[in-house]
Amino acid sequence: MRVGVFICHCGNNIAGTVDVAKVAEETRKLPGVVYATTYMYTCSEPGQEEIKKAIKNENLDRVVVSACSPRMHELTFRRTVEKAGLNRYFFEMANIREHVSWIGENKELNTNKAIEAVRMAVEKVKQNKPLYSSSFKINKRVLVIGGGVAGMQAALDCADGGLEVLLVEKSPSVGGMMARLDKTFPTIDCSICILGPKMVDVAQHDKIKLYAYSEIDEIKGYVGNYQIKIRKKATYVDWTKCTGCGTCMEKCPSKNSYDHFNFGVAPTRAINIPFPQAIPKKAKIDPDYCRQFVKGKCGVCAKVCPTKAIDYEMQDEVITEEVGAIIVSTGYSLIDIERLPEYGGGRYPDVITGIQYERILNASGPTSGHIVRPSDHVEPKTVVFVACAGSRDKSIGIPYCSNFCCMYIAKQAILTKDHVPDSQSYVFYMDIRSPGKGYDEFTRRAQEEYGVKYIRGRVSRIYPKGNKMIVKGADTLLGTQVEVEADLVVLGTAVISNSDAGHMAEKLHISYDTFGFYVESHPKLRPVETNTSGVFLAGACQGPKDIPASVCQGSAAASKVQALFSKDMLESDPAVAKVNINACVGCLKCVKTCPFQAIKEKELRDGRVVADVIETVCAGCGVCTSTCPCGAIQLQHFTDNQLLAEVNAICLT
């Protein structure tokens, strides 16, 4: 066996706190190692050439690269050794950057740790066997979860590229948060005017199948072959018959339903179409408010419906679909105002959230675009905006910036002046964050052209006095306390993940961070991929982001799916479980424990029953290997011998 070891300086990242020359020197003493060298940047092109050259010149049959995390560059170097004629599994990485040089302060101890990490990798690579992937067919359909602007962009891009798309949206219409916005910054474009045509495209595209008011029940399978259970929730209206005429909504006697679309700015009817541009434009009944459901009698909508579409007996329907890739674009939520007691916690009707104000500003909103206070429907003359209402506040567990509030507050302040020319707006802010094209100019315009008064400081309390709201805060630039008598207060409430984000992640087997935002494969270089191959991210489900960023990610995710589907067959990962039929006693414990039902029993010609792995279904977790009482089923590349070789490399020296 001829092992070659390449120890990377990674500039100063490793060599700064690890004596790489000494690591190489100690490595040369290891049995089996015939070549060990250091290199400045092993992952660079000349660095990889160096490996290829050494494989040829030194006749190496195993390679260890001691550098960064294998999660970073394992694939890079596997390809390198493969190009030099070795099987890609005759390669191991020792992580001496993330796990050694970056976390240890003592050079001597770091060097010692690096030497041991290399020794472990050498012992492991000596146990490695060549593995060969097989290929399997893929289903070239895409599932897009969430029909906001990111999801719609992803769906349209995939569909325009010829892929069949399933778009699942949990609310009754696509459009997401953007459909609720009045205008968009920094161009003051009408939001629904630019989104509406996209929504229509989604509805009319012959490659897109829209499941509105539906949720994902279950996801099974793996990249290229997913089985999805979609729950079409009962709308109590037969959408094949509903024409969206709106007669039912006019006649419905239950007038106090919570309006989810308008964030409760005004009540709606129990049977409703969320907004005029809704796609699909179909009615749905909210059974929490409908008299037929609450009191057991009413039936007005059924009587007035011209197409007899009302069906009070409707049940949820579960549909099974098969796809090959999934784009997750489930969006975000906003922090509940009740979590902000210093701002009234929802007790004062004239303290509202930014998204509610957006609905008030909107011509198709509950006030038809006239700015009025919710309490007495009077036009406000003094409006106070509070930025960072919940954001950047460790005390309520939201240390991050919500990304777009600074910008929409500037926009809303400008629009307020447009609607009510004799009004005065104040903005309490911590910092103005406007790092986009034309963004900073926009916030300046708000101040310079529209006379919006920006006060740098936080608001400590909001309380009512007569028919005014008193906003108490600090002006940290002047070093004084400020008190503003406001007619209306708008809170730039923090962006949070959806309450069911964790459950969705568990269904998808993707990771999420402590705040419930989904984690991408690499923060810089793989921003739309997840660690589960075949699952991609788009939009604010990955972190707060504005419309252009969400659209970018939607298109990026679509292009990743296109690239994945550009081949007819995918290569399987050969690191799967394998049964040694001579050692298998047929207890079939592995069959029971396998999380993927990838093991079946098989009868041999002599009548003996053994376990048999379905290679394409096996995901390579190795639960079976730890379960097997006789070591007969071994997860390739992580066999008992390979892992024990590593254990012994640490312990027995």
Partner: protein, 143 residues
């Protein structure tokens, strides 16, 4: 080397590739300083960790073993970590019968984003093992 060996104990870590190994990477990227005693073995899933590995490590020279996987219900392989939890909990209770203090073995769940939690876990566990001292007599005489 003898000087180094005197200051460090041997701690073996089994980390699942998807969550905890990533968490340890995140800690590294964030430059969260940690004690250097731990040696990490990457496994696909905490469910791949055979309790026998841990016993072998402890009997063969390790002073402590740490296993870390994805949070329950967030396993990359659906429920590998549930199998791990059951096995490891059982092992914890068995260790005293082998004459090994169960505090030398610890298992935990750390996600790929929890670099800070990883730093804390490594620091605390290393400290605990140091308090317990070496499990094995030092082989000073061997040349």
């Amino acid at each position: 080397m003898s000087d180094v060996a005197a200051r460090e104990l041997r701690i073996v870590g089994f980390l699942c590739n998807w969550c905890s190994y990533g968490g340890a990477d995140t800690a590294g990227v964030s430059r969260f300083k940690q004690p250097t005693d731990l040696r990490i073995i990457r496994v696909p899933c905490s469910g791949r960790v055979d309790p026998l590995f841990i016993v072998k490590a402890l009997l063969n020279g390790a002073d402590g073993v740490l296993v870390s996987g994805c949070h329950p219900r967030d396993c990359h392989y659906t429920d590998g970590n549930f199998y791990a939890r059951r096995r490891l909990e059982m092992l914890k209770r068995l260790l005293p019968f082998l004459g090994i203090d169960e505090r030398r073995f610890h298992y935990t769940w750390i996600s790929a984003s929890e670099g800070g939690k990883w730093q804390q876990t490594v620091t605390d566990f290393t400290k605990r093992v140091h308090e317990l001292g070496p499990l094995h007599a030092k082989k000073e005489a061997t040349p």
